[in-house]
């Protein structure tokens, strides 16, 4: 460790360059992963805020929630097996606000639910993003097809679906407004499920885990896939970068390695030295980019979907370190190969 540090101090430029590239790549990775996560919140926080559990839709709906309709009997059957089951429906639709502006929202109605706000008939509870856009408590919102307007009762944070604000309404209002007498989705949280080891199966219903259900949302999986691919590419690139940089650094040091081997220094110790250097560089760069990406999160404009937790940063950092370790080790194969004789015959260093 001491030798590793001493060498880095003597070759500051070389290691600073490596460090800054790792810093830039990890910063980019953190920001993109923050964006991916932010977009996924923006797209589906309504679902992501739910605890782990099982979703049920009609098999016939072919994994499209809007085609699913659970009849009274089906709801009863589910409730008998899982008394804590919640039922809800989502409908993408417009409303006209007090200044005659059209806005697209996701109307959500839920029975009994402890997961979503209870709403009185004739009222609506909106996602806070609409408050920022000038809608206030007490405003009336309407729609050409409705006889009655709804009154805004309150705002809640982070409830979005399909990149639209959620608008919670009373289930009876929902059935009246959208001319339906069924619910689309049943949800049973693992924590309240009966014999929770395995999701209960129901005839003609298809069960989904949280992530499976998220992937049925149009655009969600495509969006996440492409962003996550970028993150994975960046991680792979950073691994290759470590490999290439340490390869170049090692090539320049082969003479020293040879001499150290000649006087009896263990090959393992030379590897440890390289790992220590890789570790020091990564930790410093990662701490810096973690701090900067968190600062970015604080300073980013409110409308920008960016969400990066410390846990996510920590997980990515760990992956960076593991990949850097692999990269450095691969390039270190030269250290294993170097023969003391080559170095001795090479002359002055």
């Amino acid at each position: 460790m001491k030798m590793a540090w001493k060498e880095m101090k003597k070759n500051k430029l070389r290691y600073t360059i490596l460090g800054s590239i790792v810093f830039l790549i990890s910063l980019l990775t953190f920001i993109i992963s923050g964006l991916a996560n932010g977009l996924s919140q923006d797209n589906a926080s309504l679902i992501k805020n739910l605890p782990d559990g099982t979703f049920y839709m009609e098999e016939e709906a072919d994994e499209t929630y809007s085609f699913s309709s659970l009849s009274e009997e089906q709801q009863q059957e589910i409730t008998e097996a899982q008394p804590e089951a919640a039922f809800f429906s989502i409908q993408m639709r417009n409303f006209i606000d007090t200044s005659d502006k059209q806005r697209s929202v996701a109307y959500v109605a839920a029975t009994n639910s402890s997961y979503y706000p209870q709403v009185n008939s004739g009222e609506v509870i909106l996602d806070a993003s609409l408050e920022e856009e000038g809608i206030a408590v007490g405003d009336e919102i309407t729609n050409e097809q409705w006889d009655q307007p709804l009154t805004v009762a309150e705002f809640v944070n982070h409830e979005k679906f399909s990149h639209s604000a959620a608008a919670f309404i009373n289930p009876d209002d929902f059935q009246a407004l959208f001319h339906t007498d069924t619910m689309q989705i049943a949800f049973v949280a693992d924590s309240v499920a009966q014999n929770s080891n395995e999701a209960t199966a129901f005839e003609e219903l298809q069960a989904f885990s949280n992530s499976e259900f998220l992937n049925t949302i149009p655009s969600y999986s495509a969006e996440q896939l492409s962003l996550n691919m970028i993150v994975i590419f960046l991680l792979v690139i950073s691994g290759m970068l470590f490999a290439i940089f340490f390869y170049m650094i090692n090539v320049q040091k082969l003479g020293i390695y040879g001499i150290l081997k000649a006087i009896g220094v263990k090959t393992g110790k030379l590897f440890q030295m390289m790992w220590a250097q890789m570790f020091i560089i990564s930790v410093i760069s990662l701490i810096l980019s973690a701090l900067i990406s968190q600062a970015f999160q604080l300073l980013a404009p409110g409308g920008m979907p960016f969400h990066l937790t410390w846990q996510a940063t920590g997980r990515l950092s760990l992956v960076f370190i593991i990949i850097g370790f692999i990269g450095a080790t691969l390039s270190g194969i030269q250290i294993k190969r170097v023969e003391p004789m080559q170095a001795i015959q090479q002359g002055e260093i």
Partner: protein
């Protein structure tokens, strides 16, 4: 039994298809605690013999024994341990570690040799050896800032700091002027006497023979003459 002996050592290098025998059956016994010089024309195989003796490359045939152990049949880890603990090396160029100070070079050697001395005793020993080679005042210098002679004196200090039983030196004075060469030779002579170190040293320079006890002359991979001087 002697400390260090070589029997019928042969070395063949393959230049493409052509095989060339560089050492053609060498028998050597190093007089214990004495300095043996290896001389001979360029290309006669001196460096090859020295590095084979020191366990830095393998012989094609023959036996090398050190303290009743057969070096030629050792696993590389055992050989490394012997190199680290029992052998010292001085090469034609100092080959110091550029990012360690003079003092740290010696500390690294003690660590490599798994020295049983306490940290305190190690510090004392380093100081003693550096004073011996007259480099204590430059203990915090890095190799690039040292002159050729200074570097070589540090290399000598590194080679003996862990009290090796055998010291191998390949033209240790070749990169130095004659005054500096004499200094380094006197140093090696003194260390060999004081610490009872057996030395095998390659040299071209006939003036250096004043400091040695035993001379082996090689030609074309064979020993042609062997003399005890004192």
């Amino acid at each position: 039994m002697s400390l260090f002996t070589m029997k019928n050592v042969r070395k063949t290098f393959a230049h493409g298809e052509v095989k060339e025998e560089i050492l053609k059956g060498i028998d050597v016994t190093l007089p214990e605690g004495k300095i043996t010089a290896l001389t001979g024309a360029s290309g006669s195989g001196k460096s090859t013999l020295l590095t084979i003796a020191a366990g830095l490359q393998t012989a094609s045939d023959g036996q090398i024994s050190f303290e009743q152990q057969e070096l030629t049949s050792m696993r590389s880890e055992e050989l490394r341990q012997i190199r680290a603990k029992q052998f010292g090396f001085i090469f034609q160029f100092a080959h110091l570690v550029p990012f360690l100070t003079v003092e740290e070079q010696l500390a690294l050697m003690l660590e490599t040799a798994e020295s049983s001395l306490s940290k305190q005793e190690q510090k004392k020993e380093i100081r003693q050896v550096l004073e011996l080679v007259d480099m204590w005042k430059r203990k915090n210098a890095y190799p690039p800032s040292l002159s050729g002679g200074e570097k070589q004196r540090v290399a000598v200090a590194r080679a003996i700091i862990h009290s090796p039983k055998v010291l191998f030196a390949d033209e240790p004075t070749a990169s130095l002027d004659s005054k500096r060469s004499q200094e380094v030779m006197r140093l090696i002579q003194r260390l060999s006497k004081e610490r009872h170190i057996t030395v095998l040293m390659v040299t071209h320079d006939m003036d250096m023979l004043d400091y040695v006890d035993h001379v082996i002359e090689m030609r074309d991979g064979k020993i042609i003459q062997e003399d005890s001087i004192h």
